[in-house]
Symmetry: C2
Subunit: 323 residues, 2 copies
């Protein structure tokens, strides 16, 4: 397979953890990787090929400006490598907006796709993650966009988690078709009429973290708020639990017994274990890893990128949207 273009200078822990992740992925999984970034910033790649790019987009930089002004950024170069058939996929833990803009402008949209969307796997303790989309690419959406999100999200969930016919739910404030905003009601009618997906109807906020539904479709405003609220409460809860576990010598001893039992849960909820979100609707595989990605997060993101290429998820999305 063609190498995966990995943005070496994106993310809070770049380039150190990014390069370390690339090396681990090559060693452990034999995934071909090409790092992208300024050689003097990236430093020693440990023998991994480097695609030179002279500019770096900062984490807090305005995405639209960054993409236009920094023509030779690592993000633009990575997206161009995919477009030009020199890389099979791109992966970045950097500025999410700029990653989306580079992928959209350089790779282009799939035919018929109105707007790309970010699909984020939400961990569900003891079960397969739920795919939530749009997780923030489009603050405003139309019913036709949400229908495409349902179609693309289904293909992503199928390729990513092996669902045969993923159950697609529309996020609302009640299960009844009559509830929600005009956007929800119109989308519900379109999905009910038939869009080539296994639509199970409206779902509620609590269902996102349940095993009732596999793909949850919503606009990018609601999706982003829900995603960050969930991330926030999980972090807050684990900090509070850890504080209780370490509060006395007795609790520390007891926690030595309990932590192994909590291991699977902690692993399920570890952002580094998720493997990143995917930008759906562009003509290529673009994986977005979270900003504080460790080397392990990069390994998982590269593995997801490889799997999505292997499954030809982009080809399947192309067909699904044309439904």
């Amino acid at each position: 397979m063609l190498p995966i273009a990995l943005d070496a200078v994106g993310g809070d822990k770049s380039p150190g953890e990014i390069v370390a992740g690339a090396r681990l992925a090559v060693e452990e999984m034999g995934v071909p990787v090409v790092l992208v970034g300024p050689p003097e910033v990236v430093g020693d790649t440990g023998g991994i090929e480097l695609l030179a790019a002279s500019e770096v987009v900062a984490m807090d930089e305005d995405p639209a400006n960054a993409v236009r002004r920094k023509k030779d950024s690592s993000l633009n170069r990575a997206a161009e490598a995919v477009r030009d058939g020199k890389a099979s996929a791109m992966v970045s833990a950097g500025n999410t907006g700029a990653t989306m803009a580079s992928a959209l402008l350089r790779m282009g949209r799939l035919p018929g796709v109105l707007r790309p969307a970010i699909a984020t796997p939400i961990p569900v303790p003891g079960s397969t993650p739920t795919v939530l989309l749009d997780a923030g690419a489009n603050a405003e959406c139309s019913p036709a966009m949400l229908v495409q999100f349902a179609q693309m999200g289904s293909e992503f969930a199928r390729a990513r988690f092996g669902f045969d016919t993923p159950r697609v739910g529309l996020l609302s404030i009640g299960e009844e078709d009559s509830k929600g905003t005009p956007l929800v009601k119109e989308t519900n009618a379109l999905l009910t009429a038939g869009a080539g997906v296994n639509f199970i109807g409206n779902v509620e906020g609590r269902d996102v973290v349940s095993d009732r539904v596999d793909v949850v479709v919503t606009d990018g405003f609601t999706g982003n708020v829900v995603l960050k609220a969930l991330e926030g409460v999980v972090k807050t809860l684990f900090e509070a639990i850890l504080a209780a576990f370490t509060s006395t010598e007795a609790t520390q001893d007891a926690s030595k017994v309990l932590l192994p039992a909590l291991g699977p849960l902690i692993h399920d909820l570890d952002p580094d274990a998720i493997g990143g979100a995917m930008l759906l609707g562009v003509d290529g595989v673009c994986i977005i890893s979270h900003g504080s990605s460790s080397a392990r997060a990069i390994v998982n993101a590269l593995a997801v990128a490889r799997d999505m290429v292997d499954h030809d998820v982009v080809g399947h999305m192309r067909s699904a949207v044309a439904h």
Copy 2:
């Protein structure tokens, strides 16, 4: 003080837990209570006064129909008692939509209020809860409505949690004023221009469960989805943790040491400990307790109702909206 009208036949555990909660509140706190419902359904009130109402609104009944067709429902009678100066407040753990409709139609709106909103305290481990509104009364909102939610939410947070000048945040997908939907941008401009509240700008989903902000303002669609997602993940996590704690004899022994240390956290997150949400913008105190309220939840809801009456929060909201 005038008695608090308590819907004896609303909630999954009514009338048993509701009546038990009323008796506890009278015994423990000396809160005057009048139960409302059909005498033959309520049964023995243990000496607490009963205001007879012949009809019961079911938990899943259509709210608008219920209020119009069941004129003599416990919810209508409770709201009328407040309107007619026979009760100081109403409390229900029943059908939320019907409770809102009864309160709105019988008590009426405060002068100038566009739409009432549900203000729900969200527990924040180790800190004071955050007031989230609108938690579901209005799927669609205008900027002017959100400004009033900020004003009313501030008064509620002040009375409920003793904040001097509550920090008000507007829920969005980034802290920058330029981010979000047109609704968010216009509301941000109005709140920045001055609305008599301590506006700290846009906040993100993660801030809802942090100590960065005291009142989070959003439309009722986003608010309801976030609220239910948070409730869902907390429930799921605690179930997973409990399963780990009880998985072996060794973990059960260890959990005996750890559970007391986790006590304050578990208490903070217990829905029965929160004391209920409040419908803001109607001309009277209306407390909405969650559907599965236990007697303890009812005691807490009655205590909140009493406090809101004592603080004249409705009078303060009347002034705040007229700002």
